[in-house]
């Protein structure tokens, strides 16, 4: 029953996406606003996890929306809309990562984050912040593609088939990248366990 429901839900979502694409292609301003509201949090989150930086993540997410806006006419529907949008975002984030590689040398853990809610438990927050800082360093040490695959699989919960489409590699390569990323992270975080 749940499979049937989820299949119907997917079908509905597919129809919604097709309608959204049609309206975007027709230049419907409201459709673009709907798209932004629907995807902004996901795109920002993916970009943040690849770039590990608030400002760069916002820049990447906005750049992705601008690219979608400009190039929706080229979207052929061979992949789903969200795969296409994720692909654009990941490419932008990886390009930024290449351009700003030197930023990885900077410890950004101490920098304040924008607009985040204060913690209800400062002691726990401090411990969490220390762990987060170590994770930050470990993730920064990953090669770019591994970082992207790890983000999409671990945090976004996407399958390797979708990740392969987004990152532009084979499913096997996606699996291998994820496997190696997890191994490296485990090694880097060994003393925390």
């Amino acid at each position: 029953m749940s499979d049937r429901v989820s299949a119907e839900a997917r079908e509905d979502h597919g129809r919604d996406s097709a309608d959204l694409v049609r309206r975007l292609k027709a230049g419907d301003e409201r459709a673009f606003e709907e798209l932004v509201v629907e995807y902004r949090e996901r795109l920002y989150r993916v970009a943040w996890r690849i770039l590990r930086d608030d400002e760069m993540a916002e820049d990447a997410a906005q750049e992705a929306f601008i690219k979608v806006y400009r190039h929706i006419g080229r979207f052929q529907g061979r992949s789903s809309l969200y795969t296409w949008i994720y692909r654009i975002t990941v490419n932008i984030a990886l390009n930024k990562l290449k351009r700003d590689r030197f930023r990885q040398l900077l410890p950004l853990g101490d920098l304040p984050r924008m607009d985040h809610r204060p913690s209800a438990d400062p002691a726990r927050e401090a411990l969490s912040s220390e762990v987060a800082s170590r994770i930050d360093q470990a993730v920064r040490a990953l090669p770019e593609k591994q970082r992207a695959v790890f983000t999409l699989k671990f945090y976004e919960g996407l399958g390797h088939k979708e990740i392969a489409q987004i990152v532009g590699c084979s499913e096997g390569t996606s699996k291998a990248n994820y496997f190696h990323a997890i191994r490296k992270l485990r090694k880097e975080l060994e003393d925390l366990r």
């Binding site: 906005q62 400009r70 496997f179």
Partner: protein, 202 residues
Amino acid sequence: MECRSCNWIRDRLCALIEGEVVGRDREDIEEHLRSCAECADEYESLQRTFELLRDDGYREPSPFYWTRFNARLRRRLREETGVSAAQRLVPRLVPVAVGIAFFAVGLSLGLRPGAQVAPSAGQQFASRSAAESDGSIISARSKLLVETGADRGSYAFAADTLKPDGFDPMTEEPRVYLAASESAAPEWAEMERLLRERLMRE
């Protein structure tokens, strides 16, 4: 139970933790973990790593952040695509009609022999419109008109002539702009030429 090698088991531990291994494979792995201490250690170690990685410092921004995000995105869209939100909402045929009307007005007022140009009025209107359109596609042509001291009718003509033919929100702006300025509005080139001649005389 099929006897699986430790390598086969370890290759699937991440998938096991993520709930992606089901059925017979899952039973085989669980059985193996009960009897192989090394693989069981590996499994526990991976589980702990997964737990640690779950809180990587990412915090969802507040709802206020998204309001500002949208505002900044709108600004960037205007700057980078040369299109204001208001323009995108205007049906395309309306500016055509308005453009034709202003063309007639522009010709009768702006290009009538002996008529006085009004640079200050044009500049005021342009600066007001430029602020409104915020660097829209019309600005390049319009600036030229302002620099040459064209009147309000001529300026509006430029804006409304270029908009319907020159703007496609889903394509790159320069290509569209060139298409509009070079071929889609030949009468505009003639108007510009007349304006230049007149300015030269004056």
